[in-house]
């Protein structure tokens, strides 16, 4: 099956992941005490209290997404869609084809996340002098990894229908709208008290100054979403005309 092996790109993903993990903490320090706390403040905290805090924490939260989307947002287009007629004249196993590409994206996401965590750990070791990691944080890392994968898979599957750049815009717009809704709910303008519990994003930030970590159902929701997106993507490729 098609496997885009690009060593330079993979090295770039690792190095930029480490750099981002380090500098995102360096530029926006939020007063963490240890590595666990720092991880949550960096990758798992959106502060809704006031707008400056919201902007800083949202930036910290979205930057890892932007970086991996920059590298992998057009993976389906690059590996499959531009050469679809040559590929489909050799195989009709579209599901298998997309599954292989999706696994490739997952592998890259895992590599990227590990690089991010390493960068963040380097900062913690140098500045905080601490690198202690709890089971909850490992779970949180796993959920974050799944969430980044979900975003990438969603963008790549939407790019089957529209251009990858437009797919990126659509997905980020959805995320921003969700955050605006939560902010409005937080400020009392919207009476959707349970909104933050129904959005998979919620696990990666804390709400009302309390950590909202409930990884099991969220992990399950994300995996369910991944399966649905994969199924829909392969159905679209199977049914659509290759023009």
């Amino acid at each position: 099956m098609i496997y885009l092996y690009n060593r330079k790109k993979r090295i770039a993903i690792i190095l930029s992941g480490i750099a981002l993990g380090f500098f995102i903490n360096y530029i926006f320090p939020l007063g963490a005490k240890d590595y666990d706390h720092q991880f949550l403040l960096t990758f798992g905290y959106i502060g809704f209290r006031d707008y400056p805090l919201l902007i800083i924490t949202f930036t910290k939260w979205i930057m890892p997404q932007i970086l991996i989307v920059y590298f992998m947002g057009n993976y389906f287009e690059e590996s499959i869609l531009t050469n679809l007629n040559m590929i489909l004249s050799r195989t009709n196993k579209v599901k298998k084809l997309l599954m292989y590409s999706s696994i490739n994206i997952f592998i890259i996401t895992v590599i990227y996340c590990i690089s991010l965590f390493v960068g963040s750990a380097i900062y913690s070791l140098i500045i905080l002098g601490d690198f202690s990691i709890s089971v909850e944080i490992i779970q949180q890392m796993f959920v974050m990894m799944l969430y980044l994968y979900l975003v990438l898979l969603l963008i790549n599957n939407i790019s089957i229908i529209i251009k990858p750049a437009h797919a990126v815009f659509v997905v980020f717009l959805i995320e921003v709208v969700i955050f605006i809704l939560i902010k409005l709910s937080f400020d009392g303008f919207l009476n959707i008290a349970s909104l933050h519990w129904f959005i998979p994003l919620r696990v990666l930030f804390y709400y009302n100054e309390k950590f909202c970590i409930n990884n099991e159902p969220t992990g399950f929701l994300i995996i369910l979403a991944i399966v649905i997106i994969f199924y829909l993507g392969s159905r679209i490729v199977e049914k659509r005309d290759v023009l």
Binding site: M1, I2, Y3, L4, N6, K8, K9, E78, S79, T82, N83, L84, N85, M86, I87, L88, S89, R90, T91, N92, E238, D241, V242, L243
Partner: protein, 216 residues
């Protein structure tokens, strides 16, 4: 039927095929039969429906009406795509960071019926150097076209569809392609060449004229 199964005679049959895209017909009531060992030329101006017809035969588009059958198996019903087909539809993009041999190896891994020697042979036949370390992004349009032809022929398909195969090729390239077409035809391959240029179709056994999606 039994005779065809035993001797595997290749035929493509289009039965009243029409294709509508966004309320506009691009193919209308096409009835054609293609037999093995023959070279068919599909001639028409730009936008006449030549490429669409090739896409319909290769299973890349689903006819709105009618059927395409390959060896009596109906496309999109009995089979999704023809079992043995080589396709060059417009100049392909390929994977920009790969070398020519890496591109063909990647494509070859899908069906796993070609060896490295077959790939090297295909590249030599189209006049590309197998050991060339340049990636596709450094290829000229003509080189990409040659590589497109190499990927279409490397698996020795029973059906070969070539859309404007001489696009961007120089004289030597055109001679090479003419030679390849003759060789492939002598293997019993059904070859369909689409072109707006009658000169490209001078070696065809049968010429089909297409206009506004109709065969005329």
């Amino acid at each position: 039927m039994f005779y065809k199964e035993v001797f595997k005679i290749n035929t493509i049959h289009l039965n009243d095929v029409s294709k509508r895209i966004k309320k506009e017909y691009v193919l209308r009531n096409i009835n054609l039969t293609f037999n093995e060992g023959c070279i068919y030329g599909l001639h028409g101006i730009n936008g006449s429906g030549k490429t669409m017809l090739l896409r319909a035969i290769s299973g890349l588009i689903k006819p709105t009406e009618g059927t395409v059958s390959i060896n009596e198996k109906i496309l999109h019903k009995d089979i999704d795509f023809p079992e043995s087909i080589g396709v060059l539809i417009e100049t392909p993009d390929f994977w920009r960071n790969y070398t020519a041999i890496e591109v063909l190896s990647s494509l070859g891994r899908i069906k796993k019926i070609v060896s490295e020697d077959d790939i090297i042979n295909a590249l030599n036949r189209v006049g590309l150097e197998p050991r060339d370390k340049r990636t596709i992004k450094k290829f000229s349009l003509g080189m990409k076209q040659r590589l497109g032809i190499a990927q279409a022929i490397m698996e020795k398909p029973k059906i070969l569809l070539l859309d404007e195969p001489t696009n961007a090729l120089d004289k030597s390239g055109i001679s090479l392609i003419e030679e390849i077409i003759k060789e492939e035809s002598s293997r019993g391959t059904i070859i369909i060449i689409a072109s707006h240029n009658t000169h490209d179709l001078s070696n065809c056994d049968s010429l089909i004229e297409i206009e506004n999606g109709y065969i005329i």
